[in-house]
């Protein structure tokens, strides 16, 4: 009787909300695309995307271009750019250009997967803390505070020393495990304000379970903010991975930009081989810049006041 | 010559989509010691008008045309530094959002002292404090609260303190933008009485902005009714109250007066919903035409004209002739 009417009302608002969200998304995209900052970010990112894609090609042309194992038989020293090696070679005769291309692939892989995981953790924990309130909330937030004051790079290092050599996926997981608190704080405060809105009460009256409320009613509303955070987390993940690799704790089976920098540093070529020193650093800096620019452009679309934690890392 | 003369003032906001007119060809003048009330529904441009007089429009707002003459000065073309000397010393403003009008990290007393000492650099601190104490007496706040922080004040106290600050430099004109909207009825009444008494005592000119025609009637000598950026009816309080001519004024009054028949108001309808800025305001035709019960063919084809009911009472409507 009355009950079904209410259910229907709840459904109607949900449907209306969906179309409203879509409209908001389209408006937001228009705003985003108007913004030169966002455009520049997308352009840079596209360049790196192309780099990552074509990184598969050189090893097919000649095994000497394999970034890890390919060695130019005629070269036994670090050499500058040439027609055969566009950026030169490292001290073992490996081609720097293919290493650079492969680095883009690794950066994307690490950045996006770590960011995605940390956003999933952060959003879940934030929604649960905000929705459950009371003790759960306090406990989760204290826990988040604790993780937040830990220097993530050094923690991962320490774990590496305790648990032995890390492979790239463990590194990704660890980065994600230490980067969620900032996200969960924001998502929590958004959830708290959403909880005050009538449509949540309506859903509850209509008999929706907590799970359903969280995933059907709250999640869609916090998703834009989570996306925003994801772009910032990508940059942070790329930087942490690069720093780990730079310090010699990367996955020895991958070529990342951080690894390239470690090689040029550790083999003492940094004063002699600018062609080796410059490109990886420029790439790391630019790829972080591009994600960061995209994040900022998105942020202008979303409500920037919701963000308390600034985007460090 | 009157203290304040506003001629043909047109104010617009640039937004991403368009340039929206928020006040359209506003004319009025105000003598020393007189008070005028501006009434109208939310979003009709009252605040915009007040801000424009002090040249405090937001960065996307600008005066399109018109003149504002204050005490012989053309306010709109005054150099910035001279305008700074006019602000507060000559024209003070009580803001709509008194709750947020105080800097939260500075003591209230210091903020008032700042106003006094900016305009009178020679005054000593002790003298200035003495002045603040007198002002506090006037607005009935205990003097030992002067140097509290804003968050330690209640809403009504903040509002009273704002009034005290507005009086601090003995201005010639005060613009009060809904000074009581956020308060409960009793406090609201006290503060209105205060404003009225002070205005009379100090012979200050007052522009009183409100969406509540009853409040305005209690405070002001003259009333201007604003609708969608235009003044549609202006006159002395008694005239507007007793012989409201414009259909919108009548609607406002009817929602204010529940006893029917006193003013023979027949239009039993609620005031128009707030206008959206997306609808063009600059259109020459009467903006009220879609809600007006008296709208005729003439209203839909010709712009309304100003009519004088009496020398002091004017209406912008095609209805009466």
């Amino acid at each position: 009787m009355n009950f079904s009417a209410e259910t229907r009302a709840a459904c109607n608002t949900a449907a209306a909300k969906r179309s409203y969200n879509l409209q908001r998304f389209l408006d937001g995209w228009a705003l985003f695309y108007e913004n030169p900052v966002g455009k520049l970010g997308v352009f840079l990112l596209a360049c790196f995307g192309v780099m990552a894609l074509i990184s598969y090609i050189p090893p097919l042309i000649d095994p000497m271009y394999h970034p890890m194992t390919g060695v130019d038989p005629w070269i036994s020293n670090a050499t500058g750019p040439s027609a055969k090696h566009w950026l030169g070679t490292d001290n073992l005769g490996r081609d720097l250009f293919t290493q650079l291309l492969t680095g883009a692939r690794i950066a994307f892989m690490v950045g996006i997967s770590a960011a995605f995981m940390s956003i999933v953790f952060g959003t879940l924990i934030g929604m649960i803390a905000g929705y459950a309130g009371r003790v759960t909330d306090a406990a989760l937030m204290r826990f988040a505070d604790m993780i937040m004051v830990m220097p993530s790079l050094l923690v991962v290092l320490l774990l590496a020393s305790l648990f032995g050599q890390l492979n790239i996926w463990i590194i990704v997981l660890l980065i994600a495990l230490f980067r969620w608190p900032g996200v969960s704080r924001v998502i929590r405060s958004q959830t708290l304000s959403l909880k005050q809105r009538p449509f949540i009460d309506m859903a509850r009256v209509a008999g929706a379970s907590h799970m359903r409320i969280i995933f059907r009613h709250i999640l869609p509303n916090v998703l834009p903010m989570a996306c925003l955070y994801m772009t910032f987390r990508v940059t942070s993940a790329i930087i942490v991975e690069a720093a780990l690799a730079f310090l010699g704790f990367g996955d020895p089976n991958t070529v990342s930009w951080g690894m390239m920098l470690q090689w040029v540093w550790k083999t003492g070529h940094m004063f002699q081989a600018p062609y080796w020193l410059l490109p990886p650093g420029i790439c790391i800096s630019l790829i972080t810049l591009s994600f960061y620019l995209i994040g900022r452009a998105m942020e202008e679309v979303l409500d920037p006041r919701l963000r308390k934690e600034e985007n460090f890392e | 010559m009157a203290l304040l003369e506003v001629e043909n003032l047109t104010i617009a906001y640039k937004t991403r989509r368009e340039t929206a007119i928020a006040a359209d060809r506003v004319n009025f003048s105000l003598e020393r010691g007189r008070s005028v009330g501006i009434v109208g529904e939310s979003g009709c441009g009252k605040t915009t008008l007040g801000m424009a007089l002090l040249r405090l429009l937001p960065s996307n707002g600008f005066v399109k045309k018109g003149r504002v003459t204050f005490d012989g000065m053309d306010l709109l073309s005054l150099p910035d530094t001279r305008m700074q000397r006019v602000r507060w010393k000559r024209i003070a403003m009580i803001f709509q959002a008194a709750m947020n009008a105080w800097n939260p990290v500075q003591r209230i007393g210091d903020q008032i002292l700042e106003a006094i000492r900016t305009h009178d650099p020679k005054i000593t601190k002790a003298e200035a404090v003495k002045q603040v104490e007198q002002l506090y007496e006037l607005v009935e706040i205990p003097a030992d609260r002067i140097f509290d922080f804003p968050h330690q004040y209640s809403g009504g106290m903040k509002q009273r303190a704002i009034i005290a600050m507005a009086l601090a430099c003995s201005p010639d004109l005060i613009i009060a933008d809904e000074p009581t909207t956020a308060l409960d009825v009793i406090v609201q009444d006290q503060i209105l009485q205060k404003i009225k008494a002070i205005q009379k005592e100090k012979n200050i000119a007052l522009i009183f902005i409100s969406h509540d025609i009853g409040v305005v009637a209690g405070v002001c000598h003259e009333i201007m009714v604003m609708y969608r950026g235009k003044i549609v009816e202006a006159g002395r309080r008694e005239e507007v109250f007793e012989v409201p001519v414009h259909p919108y004024t009548r609607a406002l009054l009817s929602s204010y007066l529940t006893i029917d028949g006193v003013f023979e108001i027949r239009d039993k309808q609620s005031p128009a919903p707030p206008c959206t800025p997306a609808e063009p305001l600059s259109k020459e035709l009467c903006g009220y035409v879609h809600l007006c019960p008296h709208a005729s063919e003439a209203c839909r084809s010709r712009p309304p004209q100003w009519r004088e009911i009496t020398p002091t009472h004017k209406v912008l409507c095609s209805l009466c002739r």
Binding site: M150, V155, L162, G182, V264, G281, I284, L286, E310 | -
Partner: protein, 325 residues
């Protein structure tokens, strides 16, 4: 007073967090594969020394008792013997910690001050060329990869131009000379510190600037700014007396949140410049499997971050009367 109670509560909170970190580290140490004894006691040690160390650290006791020993040892400063140095870990920490604190605090304070100053100005001139260019510059600084920029600086300023020493913190010849006064020594340290400081400065100043800029832009929308203008204050006074003090608050919060990040950067900088700090020591110890040293370094770094957090909270409470009163 309210203020004191607040700070007191914060200190308790921070102590609890530190205790959790302490415990977490213990658990990790025992969960990880590998024998705790062989990780804490260097293989080459004489049997006597080894057994003494083992009993000191409680490694022959049941796990829960070991934990108590561990906590007690933390408070008495007994962290075992460093494998690499062959000295008690606490001595090494004692030597390294001041160097880190020197570099860390100087860099945070300088970059925050500069970032706040420029952020304030740039927000004020929003939309003008100076805003656009400084903001772009800040964005670029913020996203530069720290170790790389450190290497680049060494390459340019120390190697090519030769203005600065390549690495380290002191020139031994200067310090050996008995006639060297305090000023000479301080100048020597300053000379060594400039490049690492510049590196950290460049990396951090951008983020502080961006935060201050956006905070300032938010503040400028507030009603009290309008009041300040209406009062006839000069624009400069509105900016410096009314907008800026309010805009500082979110910046201070972010500084607190970013301290952990700053210490990461500090460790990287120390490593590249061979600055004898605790961050470099940690990285070094981890590379050499010097577990006693690594664990202790980590604990002290956490402690530095937590203490800095409390200081930041005090600063916040000092700046915001809503907390103070």
């Amino acid at each position: 007073m309210h203020f004191r109670k607040l700070i007191f509560r914060r200190i308790i909170e921070v102590m609890a967090i530190f205790f959790l970190i302490l415990t977490g580290l213990f658990l990790l140490f025992h969960l990880s594969p590998g024998d705790p004894v062989s990780r804490m006691v260097q293989p080459g040690m004489s049997a006597e020394d080894a057994s003494m160390l083992i009993s000191q650290l409680g490694l022959d006791q049941p796990l829960w008792l070991q934990y108590l020993y561990y906590v007690k040892n933390f408070f008495t400063g007994n962290f075992g013997i460093s494998f690499h140095y062959g000295q008690p870990v606490i001595h090494i920490i004692g030597r390294r910690l001041p160097n880190t604190i020197l570099l860390f605090t100087t860099s945070v304070i300088l970059s925050a001050a500069a970032g706040v100053f420029w952020g304030k100005l740039v927000a004020w001139y929003k939309g003008r060329p100076i805003d656009t260019w400084v903001t772009i510059l800040a964005l670029v600084c913020h996203t530069l990869f720290l170790p790389w920029i450190a290497l680049l600086f060494i390459w340019i300023f120390a190697y090519h131009v030769g203005w600065f020493p390549l690495n380290g913190m002191i020139t031994p010849e200067v310090w050996i000379n008995p006639s060297a006064g305090f000023l000479t020594k301080a100048a020597d340290i300053g000379h060594h510190m400039l490049l690492p400081l510049l590196t950290l400065f460049i990396i951090h100043v951008g983020s502080y600037l961006l935060i201050m800029r956006s905070s300032m832009l938010e503040t400028l929308k507030e009603d009290y700014i309008l009041t300040a203008r209406a009062k006839g204050l000069s624009e400069k006074r509105v900016r410096n007396r009314h907008a800026a003090p309010n805009a500082y608050l979110p910046v201070v919060t972010s500084i607190g949140l970013s301290l952990a990040f700053s210490i990461n950067g500090g460790a990287l900088t120390e490593t590249v410049f061979s600055w004898p700090g605790i961050g470099r020591e940690l990285i070094f110890a981890v590379s050499n499997n010097d577990y006693p040293l690594a664990l202790a370094c980590f604990l002290f770094i956490s402690l530095v971050v937590l203490v800095a957090n409390v200081i930041v909270d005090v600063l916040y409470a000092y700046l915001d009367p809503r907390i103070r009163y």
